[in-house]
Amino acid sequence: MPVRILFLGPLQDLVGCPEMQAQAPLDWSGLLDLVGPEMSAVLCEDRVNVACRGQVLAVKSDLLADHGDEIALLPPVSGG
């Protein structure tokens, strides 16, 4: 099964779609290569978080998504 990558909030507008799929396994450098230089720069900002399997990663570069995993790319929240 592929890895599912979700772009939350304003990241959707930047990449032009709400989600992408990628072959597993997918690590941090693989993700940055996949999304292109503009999105890659945004993802590297401290205020952007990354979740995998429903857990926010303490260190984004530790990302390692396996078959069927879901990655969520989380820009700063707007609040409710």
Binding site: L8, G9, A51, A72, S78, G79
Partner: protein, 150 residues
């Protein structure tokens, strides 16, 4: 009663409030807050999006934290997602406590955390299209006063 929920459809706060109040007949004070989509300033609508695997556990944790911090008898957090029209309710927070101060503070605490420490993204619709919103500086100042590291 500790109840946290994400709602994809419009809701009637009075129905939730009535049920919540009846569930806590022993409380000395019950406080409710209802937030609505603000009109004016060219705002035609609001879209709230979330990431349910994080957002729902996040508001459940917030309800739990408020319950413990303010020694509540009950807490309700109900929050909309999706596209909303001006005047529609976005959020309803209710707290029941033995005394009024705990109930009022618990609602205030929950709202401050929902406003800038919860996994929601929102954008406003104006005549020229959709515009993403970030928390205002006074929202950050509001949450800082609770001193819980958020």
């Amino acid at each position: 009663m500790r109840d946290a929920r994400l709602l994809a459809e419009p809701f009637v706060p009075a129905e939730l409030i009535d049920k919540f109040a009846k569930a806590h007949p022993q409380s000395g004070g019950v406080c409710h807050f209802v937030g609505e989509v603000r009109g004016g300033q060219g705002i035609e609508g609001l879209e709230l999006s979330c990431y349910r695997p994080l957002t729902l556990p996040g508001i459940e944790h917030l309800a739990h934290a408020a319950h413990n911090r303010f020694d509540l008898l009950g807490i309700l957090i109900a929050h909309r997602v999706g596209v909303l029209q001006v005047g529609e309710p976005i959020v309803c927070v209710s707290a029941a406590a033995p005394h009024r101060r705990e109930a009022i503070d618990a609602v205030d605490y929950c709202m401050d955390h929902l406003k800038c420490a919860s996994w929601f993204w929102k954008r406003e619709q104006r005549a020229d299209g959709w515009h993403w919103i970030e928390p205002r500086s006074d929202d950050h100042a509001a949450i800082a006063r609770w001193n819980d590291g958020k």
